[in-house]
Amino acid sequence: MTDNNNRDDWEEAFWYSGKTTRRRLVGWSAKAAGALGAMMLVPAPWRAAFGAAKPFKIGSLQPLSGNAAAGGKTALVGVQMAVDRINKMGGINGRPVEIVTGDDESKPDVARRKIEKLLVEDEVDAHVGGFLSNICLACMPVFEENKVVNMISVCLDTTLTTTKCNRYSFRPYDYAPAQAVAFAPYLVNKLGKRWHLIYADYSWGQSTRDAYAQEIKKAGGEIVGGTGIPLGTADMTPFLSKISGDFDGLFAIEFGKDGVTIGNQAYDLGLTKKYKWAGDGALAESTNLPGLGNKIEGFVGINRYIPVFDPPLNTAAHHKFFDDAVARLKQIDPSGPLPDRYVQSNYEAMNALKIGMEKSNFQGRDDTMKLIEALEGLEMKEGDDFPQGDKVLRKEDHQAFIREFIFDIKDGKHRILETVPKEKTIFPPACKFASS
C-alpha cells in the first residue's frame, strides 16, 4: 500500500508538478537516444577497455566473394588477428581500432567504388588491404586523391612500388624483383639453365614473369618460352599441351584456385615429371595443398612465409602467431588450414601501420604526412609484431625487403631448403614520387 502511494506520488510529481514540461521530456528523450546511439557505435569490449575514446577506423578492402574469395578470407583473418591483439594491448595512442571491411568481389570496378566509399563516406583513417594486383593498381590513385595512407597487404605487381608508386601507398613485404633476385641463382645453379615460364596473364603474373626472366638471364640461365593463362581458366590443358621441347624446368607463376588447377593438370599431362617443377610460392600455399594432394610433391618454390617450425622460424613469436591463426582459420574453414602468406602479410601490415601511428602520434587524417614520414625507412624487428622476421621499409619507393624461404613439398608439407637473408634480396629502387 505504502509502495503504491509512493508510486502515485512520483507519477503525480512527474506529470503534474510542473517540473516535467514537454520541452524537458523531448530533451531527455534526445539525450537518451544519443547515449544509446553512442553505445551502439562503440562495441562492448572497447567500452570496457577504453571508456569513451573514439576508435581509429582502419579500412580493409578484400575480395570476400568472387574468384579470389579464398585468399581474401584468409587475408582478413590476418588483419583481424592484428587488430584484436592491438586492442587487447591498449590500442594505438590510447584509442581502440575498428576495422571497416569492404568486399571488392574480385573486380576492379567494384573495388574502385568500394574504396571511394571507405575513404569518403566511412572516413577511414588509414587502409590495410588489397589482394589482386589489378585492384591495387585501380585503387592506388584514390588514396593519393584523398590523402590517406594505404598499407598494401598482398598485391605483388612490381609497378605498385616502381613506375606507379605514390607517397601514400606502402608495401611492407616482398615483391617479384626481390624474390627473383633471391631465387634465380638457386634455379639456375641447382635445377637447370633453360626455363619455360607459365604465368597468370594479368598484371601480377606479367610483371613477375619479367622479373624472373631478367634475373634468370643475369644468373646465367635462359628463357626458352612463356605461356600466359588468363585468370580463372578452368581447363588449362589447351595451354599446357602446347608446351614441349628441350629445356630443363617449368616455372609457374599462379595463385589461388588457378594454382590448384595448374598443379593438377600439369601433373596429369606428365609435365611435372618430364621437367623440373618450380615457381612462385603462391602456387603451393598451405591453403592450396589440400586441393593439390600428392600431385604437388617435389615442387620447389619461394615464399616469404611458410607454416613450418624449422629454423629460423622456430621462434616463440612464430608459435604464437601460428596457434592464433590456426584457431581462427578453423572458424572459417572446417578443414583447419594452416596459415598462408596472406594471413602473415596482412597481420604484419597492420602491425607496421600501428608502429607508424605510434611513432607519429597519429590522431587522424590531418596527421597523414607525419604518418608517412614515420613509415618511410621504418625498421621492423622480428618478434610478436613481425613473426616472419626483420624487415625494412625503404624510403625511396615504400618497398620492404624481407628474408625469403626457398622450399619444396615433401610428403604433403613444406620443407625449407634455403633461407635467403633480406640483404640478398635487394633490388634497386625505380620510383619517382610525384611530389618529390
Binding site: G228, T237, D268, T287
Partner: protein
C-alpha cells in the same frame, strides 16, 4: 604439326563432352520450362562438394558420383517447388532474377559451409598413355565417355519412358499437354531435378582436374550458355553438337594463336549465330 593437331582434337572432344553434359541440363531446363537457370553453375559446384563429402566418407568415387547426382537432383526439385513453381506463367525476367539470387545464395553457402580452401576429389584411376610428347591421362577420356553415356541415358529416357514422352509433349505444347492430363507442374519439377543432377554429375567428374572450390561453377556456366544459344535454345542434340563444335574450333584455333586468343572464337561464333541464325546453328530449318 600433325601431333599438335591430334592432341588438340582429343582435347577438344574431351572438353566438348564435359561442356555438353553441363549444357544439356541447362538446355533441358530452358527447353521445357522457359527458365534461364543462372544457378546451374552453382549446382555443378554443389555436386562437386557433395562428391568430396561422400568420397571422404566412403572412399568410393562411383558412389560419390551417384550420391552427388541424387542429392543435388533432390535439391533442384526443392528449389523448383519453393521458388520457381510459384512463378509459373509470369514474366521470364522473374525467373532470371530468382535463379540469379539462388546462385549467389548457393555460392556463399558453399563458402560458409566448406570454407575457402580448395578440396580434392581423387580420380578413380591414375593411368596415363603416351600421346606423342605428352603423357595423357586415361581419366580424361573416361570423363568424355561417361559424359556421353549420361547424355545417351537422358536421350533414351526422353525417347522411351512415359515421363520422357510427357516431357517431349510438354516441350511441344505445354497447354495441350496439360489438357491431355499430363501433370505439368510435377513434370517441370522432375525436369529441373534432372537438369540439376546432370550439373552435379559433371561437377564430380570434372572435380579431379581442378580442385573443388566455391567459384568453380562460374568458369563453366558462361560457356554453357554460349553453347545453348549456338545449339538452339532447348535443343538437346543441338547443344551437344554445339559443345563439340565450339571446343574443337577453339582447340584448332589454338594451333595458330595463343589459347587465350582462341577463346574469342566462341564469342565470334555466338555473335554470328545471333546475327545470321538466331534460332541456333544446329536447329533443322523448318520446312
Amino acid at each position: 604439326m600433325l601431333e599438335e593437331f591430334l592432341i588438340q582434337t582429343i582435347n577438344g572432344i574431351v572438353v566438348g563432352m564435359i561442356l555438353a553434359l553441363v549444357a544439356s541440363g541447362l538446355t533441358l531446363i530452358f527447353g521445357i520450362m522457359d527458365v534461364v537457370n543462372f544457378a546451374h553453375g552453382e549446382l555443378f559446384m554443389l555436386g562437386a562438394y557433395v562428391g568430396v563429402v561422400t568420397l571422404a566418407g566412403t572412399g568410393s568415387f562411383w558412389l560419390a558420383l551417384l550420391v552427388a547426382t541424387l542429392v543435388v537432383a533432390a535439391l533442384g526439385a526443392a528449389i523448383h517447388v519453393t521458388t520457381l513453381r510459384p512463378l509459373l506463367g509470369r514474366d521470364p525476367l522473374n525467373t532470371i532474377l530468382v535463379t540469379f539470387g539462388i546462385s549467389l545464395v548457393l555460392q556463399n553457402y558453399a563458402l560458409w559451409q566448406f570454407g575457402p580452401v580448395a578440396r580434392k576429389i581423387n580420380e578413380p584411376f591414375t593411368g596415363h598413355f603416351n600421346l606423342f610428347y605428352l603423357e595423357y591421362p586415361w581419366y580424361r577420356l573416361v570423363i568424355a565417355l561417361l559424359s556421353a553415356a549420361i547424355i545417351a541415358g537422358l536421350w533414351l529416357f526422353l525417347k522411351y519412358s512415359t515421363y520422357g514422352v510427357w516431357i517431349r509433349a510438354t516441350t511441344q505444347d505445354r497447354l495441350m499437354a496439360q489438357a491431355m492430363g499430363i501433370p505439368v507442374p510435377r513434370l517441370l519439377t522432375i525436369v529441373f531435378a534432372i537438369g540439376s543432377g546432370m550439373a552435379a554429375a559433371s561437377g564430380v567428374l570434372f572435380g579431379p582436374l581442378v580442385g573443388v572450390n566455391h567459384a568453380m561453377g562460374l568458369d563453366w556456366v558462361l560457356k554453357a550458355f554460349i553453347v545453348v544459344v549456338v545449339g538452339g535454345m532447348g535443343n538437346l542434340v543441338g547443344s551437344i553438337a554445339a559443345s563439340i563444335f565450339i571446343s574443337l574450333t577453339e582447340s584448332y584455333a589454338s594451333l595458330w594463336v595463343s589459347p587465350s586468343q582462341a577463346i574469342i572464337v566462341s564469342f565470334v561464333v555466338l555473335i554470328l549465330t545471333l546475327l545470321i541464325r538466331p534460332t541456333g546453328l544446329f536447329v533443322p530449318t523448318p520446312k
